[in-house]
Point group: C2
Chain length 204, copies 2
DNA sequence: CTGAAGTGTTAACATTGTTTACATTCTCCC
DNA sequence: GGGAGAATGTAAACAATGTTAACACTTCAG
């Protein structure tokens, strides 16, 4: 097991807060939510437990920061995958490719970090997890806006389309993360659902 | 706060196991997963903590039984709503109405028991949450089979359709449970997504 | 009636999140 | 530079938790 090292001089760690978040993520990834603990995080980064209370109000707050970071990371993965999509002179095809890249990224993340994804959207003290400006949500809306501009999606679906797309992809991702679909089904499952989303958004 | 009473004679409770599950559900519903505790459950049903270990191996096992019951209940709600759907001489319309009733039930459950729903599908020690015979899954498959029989859904979608439908509705339900869509959006959101699912399944 | 199986209690343990008091280090102003 | 004060760490203690071991009461079959 990897434990983060303190730098040269002791006593002051240097960047305890981010170290704690990293360590906490590691614990969740390997042992699930119940593996997260203030003392365990402290031990993993070579510090005593109360030190963490200089940076977090409580264990709950540490968890909240971890989940916020996970959602951010998810958005960044989507962004990166979008960038990787090859341009195409058929604009419609290009936008569609990017859209699917986003969905694939979302599902990939859930598949590769199931325990993190699983807890990324749980509710803490009535704070919504879809704040305006959250990256993933923003990217999705931009994509669909392009669909509308290009006449691929009817204007009448402007408000519903992002929600339809998100909930569908989110549903797949959740089921994949929970291993509710078997490994052998996943490949097929993913593309089938992405086809379905596409069907629902596009004009007929 | 309601605490369950023991019946007349003391010492032996009578049905501690189910009482514990009920009490545990109550704790989760009002305080989230972290509110569930062996000692708290014990207190709520008027018994000492170790007594529960006659009926559950651990807190984790109590949680597993609670989630299993929640999934069962979800299936039963769907079943009941299907029964309530009025018959119609247009068989296609009838089947479609039942399908939407199922989806509505699923989402309603998530809306009305958000904290229970939220934890109903989390993974415990690699056991899949979609075992063959789970009621909800079975009902969904029967419904889509009817679609195929009536020529509403192409046979080619026999394998994908249930997964597409499930993941979509599950996605909505998750987002609703997490309050990731605001209360004012929910109504619109639900029907928009159900329209989308329908679009994706039906022949064009 | 009797003993064994079932079900509950009491007492104890290790571990947890958290607080209080104190120690060390860093920073910045004179 | 040196010292005050903020920032950040440690040590010791607390109440609460999950769990176990040893014992007590109840039920019930033979």
């Amino acid at each position: 097991m990897l434990t983060l090292q303190r730098k040269g001089s002791d006593y002051h760690h240097g960047d305890l807060k981010t170290a704690a978040i990293v360590a906490g993520r590691g614990l969740i990834e390997s042992g699930g939510l119940s593996a997260l603990g203030i003392r365990r995080v402290a031990e993993k980064i070579g510090v005593t437990a109360p030190a963490l209370y200089r940076h977090f109000l409580s264990l709950e707050e540490l968890l909240v920061e971890i989940t916020a970071q996970v959602r951010q990371e998810l958005g960044e993965l989507m962004q990166e995958r979008i960038r990787r999509v090859r341009k195409h002179r058929d604009k419609k095809k290009y936008e569609l490719d990017k859209f699917r890249a986003m969905g694939d990224a979302y599902i990939d993340y859930a598949d590769q970090h199931p325990r993190l994804f699983e807890i990324a959207f749980i509710q803490h003290q009535d704070k919504s997890t879809r704040e305006f400006g959250e990256l993933a949500w923003q990217l999705l809306n931009e994509s669909i806006e392009k669909f509308i501009e290009l006449g691929m999606t009817p204007k009448s679906k402007r408000d519903s389309a992002p929600l339809v797309a998100w909930s569908t992809v989110h549903g797949v991702a959740t089921l994949v993360a929970n291993r509710a679909v078997s490994a052998s089904e996943i490949q097929f499952f993913r593309s089938a659902v992405m086809d379905g989303v596409q069907d629902a958004l596009l004009k007929r």
